[in-house]
């Protein structure tokens, strides 16, 4: 597996961002977004992977690895075990999009596999305000997979 194929890599999310930004027609109908979203993937061995994603208008304008604790500076962050994240992306690759209880809303609602967290309830609510766009962004992994990059 190459670095770009690993979900716990900046390259992978750079590819998701490029995928989103290359499809303005699809995201235009969903409407403008304004959210700084953190991701935290808890790994067993290599230390945790932290990422900050910036979404503005109909684009993902920022992908950056974050330092320990910096995910908390985002509007909200998604915190989960790497296996849960991998299962979600595998489901997306298998089905062309997240289905059943592997959608990001469902995963953050049931159990503790992936949680939506943050200090500000209004920041957390942004995750719900832009949920369809966030799901479409993550579903983009299916296009990467079918293109041979995922």
């Amino acid at each position: 597996m190459t670095e770009g194929n690993r979900i716990d890599s900046v390259d992978f999310f750079d590819s998701l961002a490029a995928n989103m930004n290359s499809r303005p027609t699809e995201y235009e109908v969903l409407g403008d977004v304004d959210i700084d979203l953190g991701l935290l993937m808890r790994r067993r061995d290599d230390g945790d992977f932290r990422l900050r994603l910036r979404f503005e208008g109909i684009e993902c304008t920022g992908v950056a690895e974050a330092e320990d604790g910096d995910e908390k500076l985002a509007d909200c962050y998604l915190d989960g075990d790497i296996d849960a994240w991998q299962a979600m992306f595998d489901d997306i690759a298998d089905n062309g999009r997240a289905v059943g209880r592997q959608t990001i809303n469902s995963l953050t609602l049931v159990g503790e596999a992936i949680r939506v967290r943050g200090d500000d309830p209004l920041g957390i609510d942004k995750f719900f305000r832009y949920n369809q766009t966030m799901q479409a962004f993550l579903d983009g992994a299916a296009q990467l997979a079918s293109a041979g990059a995922g």
């Binding site: 409407g31 289905v99 719900f128």
Partner: protein, 365 residues
Amino acid sequence: MGAVADRSYDRLPEYNPLGMPLDWAWLRGVGSEWGVRPKPSARGLTMMDIAVGSYGEVPEQPQHRSMAPRGCDIDGETPDMGYILNRKSQVWSENVAELYEEAVARQWSATRDIPWGELRELPDDIEHAICQLCTTLSEIEMIAADLPAKWMWRMNHDFVEAKMFLCTQIMDEARHTEVFRKRALANGGGLLKSRSGASSLLRTIIEAKTYTQASALMHLLGEGFILDVFRQGELIAPTDVEKKIFRMAMQDEARHVAYGTLHIRYSIEHDPDVAEEIHEALDHGEGVLMEFGTQPDLTTAIALLLAGSADDVEEKGFPMQQAMAVKLLTSYLARCERAGLNRLERTLLPVEMLGIDRQQGIPAA
């Protein structure tokens, strides 16, 4: 700077062809600001972009009670429209212009944007449960249109951004009523049971004595609750059709909650006495919501969908429902705190039964 004309325009006619006197004051220079020329931002010319100079100043207590646009040169003889919400703190929230723009940009169509063609035949119990859920949602969603409509014409027109946002909320709720009605009818089922619990809740909201009480009951309490129901709906959706419905509706609902949270906060910050009247409204509203939230039709339909079949309701459905109730309650209490209301100490909701310790505070998200 007043709108002083570049030219004198002193050779204009004083009467029209019918002999009626003419007034060229608007051309010769009036007392409103001229030449502001706001710059569009990346996505176009937003309400935030045009909040420049005097046009961006929203008075705490407007002098006028007419429909004249804020910032124009208002004739002293304009009629009083009978507004009763004439203080900014009664309607405003700091995020209202942004939320208006967001609402306009994120409108969707229940006719076009839902993949209705992907509906498929479902097991009888699941189709019934979806139809019951949609029946209840179709009933209650329109309250969040009726309520702002009841108050908007009483809001001073200088708070036009708040009124514009509430217009988007009305459109959102019309669409929610539409989409849940459509789903109930679209797959061989139909509308099912309605009971008194829903109407009791809706009456409590619509009959609130002040707009801020109504906003607390509707935006913070009611729509906060429904936001979580929509989240659960997305989880338990049997097909991509329902998933898309609930995700799109969830986005709208979260926007309304965001307005309400910061409206209540603004209101309390500028008029601390209002906190007690909001608490009193929520004391009553939470009780009514409990009745509604535990009414048999809604809870059993959601529990069945969580379980995946009527056979597993007790073993799977109810335990999952209880776990989600904790999240729902935690989210509500956290939003109240963000709004400047400590409800944890005061609420009569069964927080202990759901494992929340009042002494420990609201569990972190």
